[in-house]
């Protein structure tokens, strides 16, 4: 098993080097394509093995990680000086100082530094499927953008996947810090990939914001060693944190909030959209931001029920609503997607902090389905950019006339984030019912309000966009399906199919697959059952015919809507009899832009509260 875990980490790097060195575009595409079956196979091998297990590493790895740490921080410092960014330099120096301190006081621990359980293996599967498909897509995207730098770009993406696999398998938090900062490095390089002024500016911002997360981890390690003399995830799970000190967990949660782009640290993820679109896709779906809910899931058994967990619920619940509100004011398609990622990351962390088995199940379902759907939507954003040259909502008007397939996929992606019976809805639904269980004590009512209001705001947002792209002129009669490059159709098609199939078989997917992960995290299975397609939760059930009916309504109907033809006389739209030229836009919700500073203030306050009260700094 050790070799397979090693292969999952190292193979993407080998693929990356091979792609980087291969001279031919076709060869690079084949190599990238190979990574999908190879990594998926290996990830399944790990999933089917006897989990969980520890992996001992030779001593030189420890030294290598330490050396790498210093090189990495040195590089950050160099970038800070090179681009004259005070924040980046100062934070890099602070990290160098804290890291040295950590290394000096780190006691010897017998616990092996690599720990692979179901959660790790679940993340492997997401990276291996969702991540590699984005890389395949990137080969075509870069061919259209700049073929000369394609090898470099795809190689970085593949390398990033290996880093992500490594990050989710470490047990030693000091190593986790190294990999956390490596993902920061990866995002920094990818965001500045185009090397224009705004790219560099946004990359620097992403760099310093994520470094704040790194500092939080280091301080967390220092306190963990001081109070408990432990620095491994598995050891932290054994401590009784409420009795002594919550400080280490408070700082770890803060680093998760920063990595998960929760307000007020959300600007780095928004800035990432200046990079080529596959970068956004990979940051938002399979890698990077998913570290945030991963980290909360790791520590959720310890923080469950504490003040920290409650403050995390409040903070992330607030972000779930607020990011959705701010998304309404945006007119750039990628920014809308970015805000909705921030919002849904809030929901993932909210459910993870609730900590009960059913809530954890919801969180994992959200992680999986969000990864697939967000990747789909970003790939569609890239397709619109390259094939139809539109970036803004305003330019997307009447897209349905030109690109019915693209519009259908986008609509499906948006609907699968809010509407019955898709995976994200199911997660929201079981969270609501789980929260209702606690409500007889008067607790958790705030989370119910957050979840419903946030959910309905996202519905409003998605339908606003669907409305713009599905508008068409009356005189436009027959749809002609657009011709997209094969790779575009293939990659997006895979995502669409997995969204639909996953939602159709959601019951078995939850009980036979996700529930095993829940067992590893909380120690007990979530109390759900599956009967054919029917999903039975502790208090209720969603029937097979409901799932089927909704899928038929939402799938076959929009498809046939393209081809249904009624025999009826045609008229023009009613405009009170006036012959005016129409230019219909959409709502920009300027009333919300006005309260943006107010929202950010509350976000900062909640953030500080989480650290100060939750971490027990008072």
């Amino acid at each position: 098993m050790e070799q397979i875990v090693g292969a999952l980490i190292v193979l993407p790097w080998i693929f990356a080097i091979a792609v980087f060195l291969s001279p031919n575009h076709r060869l690079r595409q084949i190599l990238t394509f190979l990574s999908l079956p190879v990594l998926t196979y290996l990830a399944f091998k790990v999933w089917n093995s006897n989990l969980p297990f520890f992996v001992e590493t030779p001593h030189w790895v420890e030294t290598a990680v330490t050396v790498f740490d210093y090189l990495l921080l040195g590089y950050f410092l160099y970038q800070g000086i090179k681009f004259r960014s005070f924040l980046v330099s100062v934070l890099a120096v602070a990290q160098l100082f804290l890291l040295t301190w950590v290394l000096l006081i780190l006691p010897h621990s017998a616990t092996p530094p690599i720990y692979v359980d179901r959660l790790t293996s679940f993340m492997y599967l997401i990276v291996a499927t969702v991540g590699t498909i984005i890389c395949i897509y990137a080969t075509k995207y870069m061919e259209q953008e700049n073929l000369d730098r394609e090898n470099r770009f795809v190689a970085i993406l593949l390398w990033f996947l290996g880093v992500m696999n490594f990050a989710v398998s470490v047990n030693n938090i000091e190593w986790f810090f190294a990999l956390f900062e490596t993902t920061t490095l990866a995002s920094y390089i990818l965001i500045r990939f185009r090397w224009d002024e705004i790219s560099v500016k946004n990359a620097i911002r992403a760099l310093w914001m994520n470094q704040v997360g790194g500092i939080a981890i280091l301080i967390g390690i220092l306190f963990a060693v001081k109070y408990y003399n432990v620095y491994n995830f598995t050891d932290i799970l054994k401590i009784n944190a409420t009795a002594i000190s919550m400080i280490p967990l408070g700082f770890l949660s803060i680093s998760a909030l920063v990595k998960g782009a929760q307000m007020p640290f959300h600007k780095w993820l928004l800035g990432a959209m200046v990079a080529p679109t596959p970068v956004s896709a990979i940051l938002h779906s399979a890698t990077m931001v998913k570290i945030a809910p991963y980290l909360i899931l790791r520590i959720s058994p310890v923080i469950k029920g504490t003040l920290l967990a409650k403050l995390l619920i409040t903070t992330t619940g607030f972000v779930f609503v607020a990011a959705g509100l701010l998304a309404l004011t945006q007119d750039n398609f990628k920014r809308i997607l970015a805000y909705s990622t921030i919002s849904l990351l809030g929901l993932m962390m909210l459910t993870a902090s609730m900590g009960s088995s059913v809530a954890i199940l919801a969180s994992l379902l959200l992680i999986f389905f969000h990864a697939v759907v967000k990747a789909l939507l970003f790939l569609e954003a890239g397709i619109m950019e390259k094939e139809f040259h539109v970036k803004y909502i305003e330019e997307m008007r009447r897209l349905i006339e030109k690109a019915p397939i693209t519009v259908f996929f986008i609509a499906l992606g948006f609907m699968s984030m809010t509407i019955v019976p898709y995976g994200i809805f199911i997660a929201k639904w079981i969270t609501l019912e789980e929260a209702s269980n606690f409500i007889s004590h008067g607790a958790y009512i705030a989370s119910i309000i957050f979840i419903t209001i946030g959910g309905v705001i996202l519905t409003l947002l998605y339908f606003k966009v669907i409305g713009v792209i599905s508008r068409k002129r009356g005189e436009f009669v027959s749809f002609k399906l657009e011709k997209l490059p094969f790779i575009y159709m293939f990659t997006t098609g895979l995502y669409v199919i997995s969204t639909i199939v996953g939602s159709l078989f959601i019951a078995h997917f939850s009980t036979d697959f996700v529930n095993l992960v829940v067992k590893d995290i909380t120690g007990e299975f979530a109390n759900i059952k599956a009967e054919s397609l029917t999903l039975i939760t502790p208090v209720s059930q969603i029937y097979d015919w409901q799932i089927l009916g909704a899928i038929i309504l939402l799938m076959i109907v929009p498809v046939s809507a393209y081809f249904v033809y009624f025999k009826a006389d045609r008229v023009y739209e009613y405009t009170c009899g006036e012959n005016i030229s129409l230019n219909i836009g959409t709502y920009n919700f300027s009333c919300i832009s006005k309260i943006e500073p107010f929202i950010e203030t509350i976000a900062v306050a909640l953030f500080v509260l989480t650290l100060v009260l939750g971490g027990g700094l008072v």
Binding site: I448, I466, A561, R570
Partner: protein, 280 residues
């Protein structure tokens, strides 16, 4: 509720809804000191509309109108079949999606404005609905409609404020004054409905009747297993909704959302808190 009964009720729902609508027109007329149309007037309108020359903007739009009818009908069956109440609420969103996409799909200013307002309606009333469902769960211990209809507890006795909040959000669901901004006949001439005519309008029109049944069945649930009280509640809320409809003027969307979020949601929360206190 047995399976047969729910199927029959669902199939009959357009007739029930049509009758309710006809009755409502009489009630409203009497409130305004008018005679009003005969009770079967909606059905006369139905046959008249079927007879009209069918005209449309484009097939996609017309098809969405028909899907709105089918979607609403299906969501009513989800509610009546005794399944999960939250699922039924979210299915209603699904059916609304067809109306909204239909409204957005034409280049008509009134239709587009109306579709957006339709979404804002949802923004206002859906949290109240979900919280009401949570309240029902709290007192009866189940989300299943079939179980709710069998319980001995009468939810309204312990959830009076939730019931009031729910009642006051009904106008937003049924698009009645003061919360009729999505239709607003004097302003945007029916909103998403405006571009439908003939048979296609008939579909949208019938879907609205079904929504009557859907909304008032929720009221019925507040009486639990006590069907007589349920019927009384339905009749009472029907009159109150029409009274409010007659007595108020339209507000703007901001006032509607603030009313729902800042008055009705806290009302529900207060009730749930008091309940938690009282039980503990």
């Amino acid at each position: 509720m047995s399976k047969e009964l729910s199927v029959v009720l669902t199939l009959l729902s357009p007739f029930i809804g049509g009758l309710v609508y006809g009755f409502e027109r009489i009630v409203r007329a009497r409130m305004q000191n008018r005679q009003g149309p005969p009770i079967l007037q909606p059905f006369y309108d139905f046959f008249k509309l079927m007879d009209k020359r069918s005209i449309m903007i484009h097939s996609f739009h017309a098809f969405m109108g028909i899907m709105y009818l089918i979607g609403t009908w299906f969501s009513l069956y989800v509610l009546l079949s005794g399944g999960d109440i939250l699922i039924a609420i979210f299915f209603h969103v699904l059916s609304l999606a067809f109306l909204v996409i239909g409204g957005f799909s034409v280049r008509s200013p009134y239709s587009v404005v109306g579709a957006m307002r339709e979404l804002i309606h949802m923004l206002a009333y859906e949290p109240v609905f979900v919280l009401a469902a949570v309240g029902l769960y709290l007192v009866t211990g189940t989300f299943q409609v079939s179980e709710l209809l069998k319980t001995d507890t009468v939810p309204i006795l312990t959830l009076p404020l939730v019931f009031i909040a729910f009642l006051l959000s009904l106008p937003a669901v049924l698009k009645k004054s003061p919360f009729d901004i999505a239709e607003a006949h004097q302003e945007i001439i029916g909103g998403p409905e405006i571009e439908y005519s003939g048979k296609f309008y008939e579909a949208v029109y019938t879907a609205k009747w079904i929504e009557y049944v859907y909304a008032f069945f929720f009221v019925f649930l507040f009486a639990g297993g006590n069907y007589f009280l349920g019927a009384v509640l339905v009749v009472l809320s029907f009159f109150i909704v029409n009274l409010i409809d007659n007595a108020t003027a339209r507000v703007n969307f901001r006032q509607m959302v603030s009313f729902h979020w800042y008055i009705l949601i806290p009302l529900v929360v207060v009730n749930l808190m008091l309940l938690a206190l009282w039980r503990a």
